[in-house]
């Protein structure tokens, strides 16, 4: 959560337009976290710099009400479909981030943040449909608008044998230029080190040859951000 808000903060300070698909938390939650990081999400939304999809509220509108789906909840129409397809969600992303030439001059390249993709699998969307959605977002946001995408996928332990989740994760690893794998410490709970993060820059991404570059950091979540350090250099140890 804090990492995603940090991404958003960097995007806002660079003057980029941001679209957040908040499928697991409400806007007020992100707003509270953003405030601690020094970013005012309500202000950005009013300015038009931030477009936020309220997934939780919208899903209630789709699932609990009879009759036609209201316009605000159209992107979540797949919840009613027997064979869910995320075309509506993609059209929402495309319309949110598409800009006229003046807007392109005003804003930098757009950023799409998806939180998160694993919940779509839990809602009955097949991994193929999720991958198709991500493909179209990549075409629109990365290739056409020269923007960036950040997405979260949960990776359960391998013993649980969730094939859909593993397929989704591996496919996205193939397509991503940077993968951040966050996990707890192998040694268990530590008060001063909350976990470790493996950064993998994919070799061959952006069309250039090369092999994967891997770096490992440990991190501590603080009140107003996250601090990263090399393994063994935590303030508790030194």
């Amino acid at each position: 959560m804090t990492t995603k808000c940090s991404h958003a903060r960097c995007a806002f300070s660079a003057g980029c337009r941001v679209c957040v698909l908040g499928l697991v938390q409400s806007f007020s939650h992100y707003s509270a976290v953003g405030q601690r990081l020094g970013v005012s999400l309500p202000q950005a939304r009013e300015k038009g710099q931030l477009v936020f999809l309220e997934g939780l509220r919208g899903s209630l509108d789709v699932l609990l009400q009879d009759g036609p789906i209201p316009d605000t909840a159209q992107p979540l129409g797949f919840l009613r479909s027997p064979v869910p397809e995320l075309r509506g969600l993609f059209e929402f992303v495309q319309s949110s981030l598409s800009s006229t030439e003046e807007e392109v001059a005003a804003w930098g390249p757009p950023v799409l943040i998806v939180d998160d993709l694993s919940v779509l699998l839990s809602l009955g969307v097949s991994p193929g449909a999720v991958l198709d959605f991500m493909h179209y977002c990549r075409v629109a946001v990365c290739s056409r608008m020269q923007g960036n995408m950040v997405t979260l996928v949960h990776n359960e332990e391998e013993e649980l044998g969730d094939e859909d989740s593993e397929l989704l994760l591996r496919s996205l690893t193939h397509q991503s230029s940077l993968t951040l794998q966050v996990q707890g410490l192998a040694t268990g709970y530590c008060r001063d080190i909350h976990g470790q993060m493996e950064l993998r820059w994919r070799g061959g991404s952006q069309g250039r040859p090369g092999r994967d570059q891997v770096k490992l950091f440990q991190y501590k979540v603080q009140d107003k951000g996250v601090s990263f350090f090399a393994r063994g250099t935590s303030s508790a140890v030194l």
């Binding site: 193939h174 070799g203 090369g210 092999r211």
Partner: protein, 305 residues
């Protein structure tokens, strides 16, 4: 062997490049494309996974302009109604028709990026059938080179596709450095089914340069030199080096150790000391009692002969 396959002297028909999430195979695929273009062969790319710009990045403007890109990336499912190549359009006949639309009379090299995308949207049987028809040769298509992400499919599907291939090139990651010239991209295991029926296997360490030419850094097939692993050592280190205590022996200590006889070794001295009688020591006095005097021929001791 990889270089021969890239140059086209071996492995006509279908060449499958298998990669995984840990090691990217697209750089090698671009190596194939570049080599074909430099031989003045027309190259047609069915691009589903990356855009034309990304595919042509790093290729010189000359090779890039001789490449025909069939755009299956922008709108593969017809969501945008742009009339580009879609997944439903994929079949051997349609592909041949598309290739024939180009005026070039030469036979082409067809590159598929990637087969995984097709397998996720089309039944594997249809994909295998189309590959078989396309790679059979003649009718404009000289060779098919396809990229396959082996960790996205079941083993059976990957096996079926590779079974049809003339050459299977599997890339795996490597860590550590192999040569001073270049950083290796990975280890490539090549399987080649020759026309004679013989199957050759080779394992090489390769590197892809900035201009996408492929260089073999080391041949690992003979296993004379071990592949570099994450420990990064190819020769034995002296374990007694760099210690805070001394594990080595001086000459005197070494000689004393060699001269020492171990307690249970049966040497000449020990043998002679046992055989020689020693006065006062080691005498055994034996007085048999009644139960010890056991006569085998008269066990009850009642014969009076």
């Amino acid at each position: 062997m990889l270089v021969e396959i890239i140059q086209g002297s071996e492995g006509g028909g279908l060449v499958v490049i298998k990669d995984s999430a840990e090691c990217d195979g697209r750089s090698l695929l671009k190596g194939f494309i570049k080599a074909a273009v430099l031989r003045n062969e027309p190259v047609h790319v069915l691009g589903f996974e990356v855009s034309e710009d990304e595919l042509c990045t790093g290729l010189d403007s000359g090779p890039a302009s001789r490449l025909v890109f069939h755009d299956g990336y922008s709108d593969p499912l017809q969501w945008l109604g742009q009339g580009k190549l879609s997944v439903q359009d994929y079949s051997a006949q349609n592909m041949r028709n598309r290739i024939s639309q180009s005026d070039d009379p030469k036979v082409v090299t067809l590159v598929i990026d990637s087969l995984s995308w097709l397998l996720l949207h089309t039944p594997p049987t249809a994909v295998c059938q189309s590959l078989q028809e396309l790679s059979r040769g003649g009718l404009k298509v000289k060779r098919v080179v396809a990229l396959l992400h082996s960790d996205l499919h079941e083993q059976g599907v990957v096996g079926s596709v590779c079974h049809m291939a003339t050459a299977v090139v599997t890339v795996t990651p490597v860590s550590g450095s192999v040569s001073a010239e270049a950083e290796p991209n990975g280890i490539v295991r090549t399987l080649l089914r020759r026309k004679t029926g013989r199957v050759s296997r080779e394992e090489e360490c390769y590197s892809v340069r900035e201009d996408f030419s492929v260089q073999i850094l080391r041949d690992l097939s003979t296993r004379k030199q071990p592949a570099p692993d994450s420990r990064g050592e190819t020769k034995q280190d002296d374990p007694a080096a760099n210690l805070t205590f001394n594990l080595r022996l001086s000459e005197d200590e070494r000689r004393a150790r060699e001269n020492l006889s171990l307690p249970f070794t049966f040497s000449e001295e020990k043998k002679s000391s046992l055989l020689q009688p020693r006065s006062g020591g080691g005498r055994i006095l034996y007085e048999p009692d009644a139960s010890d005097d056991f006569d085998q021929e008269d066990p009850d001791d009642d014969l009076d002969i």
